[in-house]
């Protein structure tokens, strides 16, 4: 199937009566989840996993991706109107969004943010579409040594370049722990049952859905319960009159600044290609660039509209880049992509070269879903911002128990095994502990997903090329990049610690 044929087939499927309603529902759900502070894109995807089991691959993928695509729009609304970012990727919008609201221009900021999000997502998937013909050729060059080294590179990047970047050792511990957990179950080389503790349920390995639900959903619920009594505290003092009129002004403001949108979207897409950096990093980088390139940099922090447009374009453009690595190589660069990978496997779709070569139409279903999901999220966000914001009034004391029972129901229905409910709980506690103690959860999940692939390719590489398999040209280049990035970050860390020590002395 040629690229053009796949593009048309993907569009036809994405707008079909079977798929489109789920795209709409997914986008609206994602918007609502994004508005609720503390719940992000990975939570939205994890929560929807139990519902995709009986869906066809196209429908299931579209449902989940549409939810993920519109989360940032919801997060942008709360960031601007309540100074509370709905998701981590909207954190950079806090600098100029709330000041605009205080100046009475909240609607303008919302309109600008929604439009920037949509245009950023369009840019990201456009780049992904351009990359597809190249990636299709590149994946043919990749064999077991290359896939092994690529997985090592992804894990290193995730551990070293995590959102907080605080502690490389903790990031690596999390990544290695994830790989170790992936060895639970039958060894795919020898058939030996490893780490099953005599439990039949673990013969097939740790079930990924309960682990995801526990790690992201239960952990977030515990966090929400412990930290939050009110999700938004400023709502009652805001006047929403005139919001709608200003929104359209914001749309025009973004369209007039199309060059800034393109530049910040390019930043976002590039960041998305690199595992571990995340959309929050893209948003902050884009904000810094918007300020640097502005004619009025002093206005930033006081309600400059470019300070909203820049980060919002970037954080949605990340999707295109992130999807490229995930679908082409089966290497997820973030928690959300790891969940997407798990969903693909659940739906019977093998990510990686097989997807690129034999199911390209499914890739385009993903691309069109991101476009349509973002579009629906943008329109809904603009027209129903006012009533949607009432969701933030929900008390965590009501939200937490309700979401918990949905999560535990979801954990059970995966395989109809009660033991998986216990696994969800255990990983919920582990996920919360890791969140509080700054261990990288994305690194663990990605280690868990990649571990099987790492072992299989390691074994094959050893069999085919012997212990010097990493000397294969492409594998060697990837290894050099991995080692360079790793030691460069160690060097930076040592330097910064020396600087702090000198200052303290």
């Amino acid at each position: 199937m040629s690229i053009f044929e796949a593009l048309l087939a993907g569009l036809y499927t994405a707008v079909s009566l079977e798929v489109l309603p789920f795209v709409v529902i997914g986008a609206l759900l994602g918007l609502v989840i994004g508005i609720i502070p503390g719940l992000g894109g990975h939570f939205a995807m994890a929560m929807l996993i139990p519902f995709v089991f009986r869906m066809s691959p196209a429908t299931g993928i579209a449902f989940v991706l549409a939810a993920h695509a519109s989360v940032a729009q919801g997060g942008g609304i709360t960031a601007i109107l309540f100074s509370t970012p709905g998701t981590g990727q909207n954190a950079a919008t806090i600098f100029d969004g709330p000041p605009m609201t205080e100046k009475g221009e909240g609607g303008r900021a919302v309109g600008a943010a929604m439009t920037a999000c949509f245009l950023g997502a369009l840019f990201g998937v456009f780049v992904l579409t351009l990359l597809l013909p190249v990636l299709r050729q590149v994946v043919l060059v990749f064999g077991p040594p290359e896939f092994f080294m690529l997985a090592v590179l992804a894990l290193t990047f995730i551990a070293v370049l995590s959102d907080k970047g605080i502690n490389i050792n903790k990031g690596l511990i999390a990544g290695f722990l994830g790989i170790l957990f992936s060895f639970v179950g039958m060894c795919n080389v020898t058939g030996v049952r490893r780490f099953t503790f005599g439990q039949l349920e673990l013969w097939g390995g740790l079930p990924i859905v309960p682990v995801m639900l526990g790690f992201f959903a239960v952990a977030e619920m515990i966090h929400l319960w412990v930290e939050g009594k009110s999700l938004a505290s400023k709502a009652s003092s805001l006047n929403f009159a005139g919001l709608q009129k200003q929104i359209f002004q914001g749309v025009l403001d973004t369209l007039r600044r199309w060059r800034l949108v393109i530049r910040c979207s390019a930043i976002g897409t590039t960041i998305g290609l690199i595992p571990g950096l995340g959309s929050a990093s893209a948003a902050f980088l884009a904000y810094a660039h918007a300020k640097q390139s502005s004619k009025n940099p002093d206005e930033f922090g006081k309600g400059a509209i470019e300070g909203v447009i820049g980060p919002e374009s970037a954080n949605d453009a990340v999707e295109g880049g992130a999807l490229a690595a995930t679908v082409a190589f089966g290497i997820p660069g973030s928690s959300s992509m790891a969940i997407l990978l798990a969903i693909l496997v659940i739906l019977g779709v093998q990510p990686g070269p097989n997807l690129m070569l034999n199911n390209l139409d499914l890739v385009f279903v993903m691309i069109w879903t991101v476009v349509i999901g973002n579009f629906i999220g943008t329109i809904a966000g603009m027209f129903v911002a006012n009533p949607l914001t009432r969701v933030t009034f929900l008390r965590s004391s009501v939200l937490v128990p309700v979401l918990l029972i949905i999560v535990f129901t979801g954990a059970y229905v995966v395989h109809g095994v009660y033991g998986e409910v216990i696994i969800t709980f255990v990983f919920g506690l582990l996920g919360y502990a890791m969140k509080k103690l700054d261990y990288s959860r994305p690194a663990l999940i990605i280690g868990l997903i990649l571990g099987v692939m790492v072992e299989k390719n390691y074994y094959l590489a050893l069999k085919l090329y012997g212990s010097t398999f990493f000397m294969q040209p492409v594998a060697l280049i990837i290894m050099i990049i991995t080692v360079t990035v790793f030691f460069y970050n160690i060097f930076k860390l040592v330097q910064s610690q020396r600087r702090n020590y000198t200052r303290a002395g």
Binding site: K170, L180, T190, R194, V398, P401, T409, Y412
Partner: protein
């Protein structure tokens, strides 16, 4: 002094979590040595550096704790126990409630277990009004039952009680 106490609590929590991970690693190491050589190759390749990193991390936490203890001004009062913090109490409360939810589901099944959990939690813990507690306590489980069993044809757990009826 309040900051020092918070730092110390954090250091203790980090240390405890690190010890837990190390203990888990030791258990898994003992298990892996019983497997055949090819089956244990990959786990050992991961475990050995993981062990080194965990040991290094524990050493860092221990040193930080020692440093904080040497800075702490001893005014004769009892040190603040990590178990007396409000947040940790909240974590313990929610954990106990989740365990009770799991027990209720196991015994009574999803629908009844969830309903009881929600009504009790919303009324007693969240201190919501009876109307809201009952509305959510009945509405949400019924909605989930309809979505999963009727719409998606996926059975929810019927509970041990199902055997007796």
């Amino acid at each position: 002094m309040r900051d020092d106490s918070r730092e110390k609590r954090r250091a203790i929590t980090e240390l405890l979590f690190g010890i837990f991970l190390l203990a888990l690693l030791i258990v898994l190491f003992v298990m892996v040595m019983t497997y055949q050589p090819v089956a244990r190759r990959a786990p050992l390749t991961v475990m050995i550096p993981l062990f080194v990193m965990l040991a290094a991390q524990l050493f860092i936490f221990y040193r930080r704790l020692k440093k904080l203890q040497s800075h702490q001004i001893n005014d004769g009062k009892t040190e603040i126990s990590i178990f007396k913090t409000r947040k940790l109490r909240k974590v313990l409360v929610i954990t106990l409630f989740i365990i009770s939810l799991m027990a209720l589901i196991y015994l009574l099944g999803h629908v009844i277990g969830m309903a009881i959990f929600l009504i009790v939690f919303l009324r007693l813990v969240s201190r919501e009004r009876w109307v809201l507690s009952l509305a959510l306590g009945i509405g949400v489980p019924v909605a989930l039952y309809l979505v999963f069993e009727k719409l998606l044809h996926i059975m929810v757990y019927p509970g041990i009680i199902h055997r007796y009826f």
